[in-house]
């Protein structure tokens, strides 16, 4: 069971990132639970300075941009 978290204040970019992650999870039948971190003090605990960020099992995989679907797939299937 993967723990996927989207870090960000909730602007359009965060939602796009979540959609991409959700699609990868669905397409590849990965078992995962989604979480959101919207409070800035919490976001800062991950050492992230730009949002949106993707965190899988407490590891920051990318920040400050929206990764492509294939990138997310590589990360999620490897995790």
């Amino acid at each position: 069971m993967l723990n996927i978290k989207i870090l960000g204040g909730g602007c359009a970019n965060c939602k796009r990132l979540e959609q991409i992650a959700q699609k990868v999870v669905d397409d590849n039948q990965i078992e995962a639970e989604f979480g959101h971190v919207t409070e800035y003090p919490e976001i800062m605990k991950y050492g992230v300075m730009s949002t949106p960020a993707l965190v899988v099992d407490e590891k920051v995989l990318c920040s400050g941009r929206i990764p492509s679907e294939s990138e997310v797939k590589t990360w999620l299937t490897a995790a």
Binding site: Y40, M49, S50, S63, G64, R65
Partner: protein
């Protein structure tokens, strides 16, 4: 670190192919750019049989010339800027600014504000990240002002519609404003007006360190071209359509009395009007460009431009989360005064 994108082997062969592809695209781009003017004239005056010199003919030719020109310029230049930006990141910028004093720090921060990839949603984590790592408040603000005020879409459109001089003035005055405003904020010692929780945060530092290949950089630049141009093209078209109508139908000099140099109130009005117009920066410039032909003055236009991109309501709402109301008020006041002064200055000297 994690998030590594490593593609070993055959790298040089791949890079050669990539370089050839980019050369080819550049050639096509230049050819297309040079074809726009003859093509737009042919379409409007031959195909549509419009008369050159009539209101309708001029408006249509203007529209058919400016829309493809601006969209091509936007795609090409955003691609280049995005490639440049893959070499920067907020983390790297923070490291570069660490330990810099006021003054030098402000200048460096303002310049890094142009090239560091940054979306206004990230203003808060970035602010916290900078301040928490010991970067002075004033230096942090120089960055936070330069990043939105010198907006790439606005810059490219000013270049496309007004030429490189106006585009250069826009960048230079944006930098000067960011540097000076940051220095003033630094001198005022406003640390106590930053929300208290900011000072208690201890982040784990680090972030994601990436190793990018040229293929990655090109992919990302291409992605941001699609994203930005995909978002602004309707505004560009509507803006140019309105601009074309003004170009064709509004009489010359019609606006001298209300938007010209002599109308002292036009600059502050332009700044105030610019605040709620954030999302329409791309649509606003073509209209403004047409207004200028009819007698509006350049300083007023620049002040308006900066207000549109630099003082936006959504960003103020975001910043309110880390700044107490008094600090936010000082921030807005300094920027508004700076934009108004810039407007008057250019109206005076040009």
């Amino acid at each position: 670190m994690n998030g590594l994108i490593e593609k070993e082997g055959k790298v040089s062969g791949k890079n050669l192919k990539l370089a050839l592809l980019l050369v080819l695209i550049t050639a096509v781009w230049i050819a297309a750019y040079n074809l726009i003017e003859p093509l737009s004239n042919w379409l409007s005056f031959r195909l549509f049989h419009l008369q050159q010199g009539t209101h309708l003919g001029d408006a249509v030719a203007f529209f058919l010339y400016d829309v493809p020109k601006i969209l091509l310029l936007l795609s090409g230049m955003i691609f280049l800027i995005s490639i440049l930006r893959t070499f920067f990141s907020p983390e790297r910028t923070r490291a570069l600014l660490g330990g810099k004093r006021q003054g030098i720090g402000n200048i460096l921060a303002a310049m890094l504000g142009i090239v560091t990839p940054f979306c206004s949603c990230s203003a808060v984590p970035l602010f916290i990240g900078f301040v928490e790592s010991g970067i002075p408040l004033g230096v942090t603000f120089s960055f936070l002002i330069a990043a939105p005020v010198i907006n790439e879409v606005a810059l490219i459109m000013l270049f496309g519609l007004f030429g490189w001089k106006v585009a250069g003035l826009y960048v230079t005055s944006g930098l000067v404003i960011a540097i000076l405003a940051g220095m003033i904020i630094g001198r005022l010692h406003l640390e106590k007006y930053v929300e208290d929780f900011v000072w208690q945060i201890k982040s784990n530092g680090g972030g994601v360190e990436e190793h990018l290949t040229w293929q990655d950089r090109v992919d990302r630049a291409w992605q941001s071209v699609r994203e930005i141009v995909g978002k602004v093209w309707p505004y560009v078209i509507v803006g140019i359509a309105i601009g074309a109508a003004i170009h064709g139908y509004v009489p010359e000099e019609a606006l001298v009395s209300i938007m010209g140099k002599k109308a002292w109130w036009s600059v502050p009005t332009a700044v105030i009007l610019g605040v709620p117009l954030y999302t329409n920066a791309a649509g606003v410039i073509p209209i403004v460009s047409a207004l200028m032909e009819k007698g509006a003055s350049l300083g007023t236009v620049l002040a308006f431009m900066m207000s549109v991109v630099g003082l936006s309501l959504p960003e103020m709402v975001i910043l309110r989360r880390v700044l107490k109301p008094k600090m936010l008020g000082i921030f807005i006041a300094i920027l508004a005064v700076a934009f108004i002064l810039t407007g008057y200055l250019f109206n005076l000297v040009l």
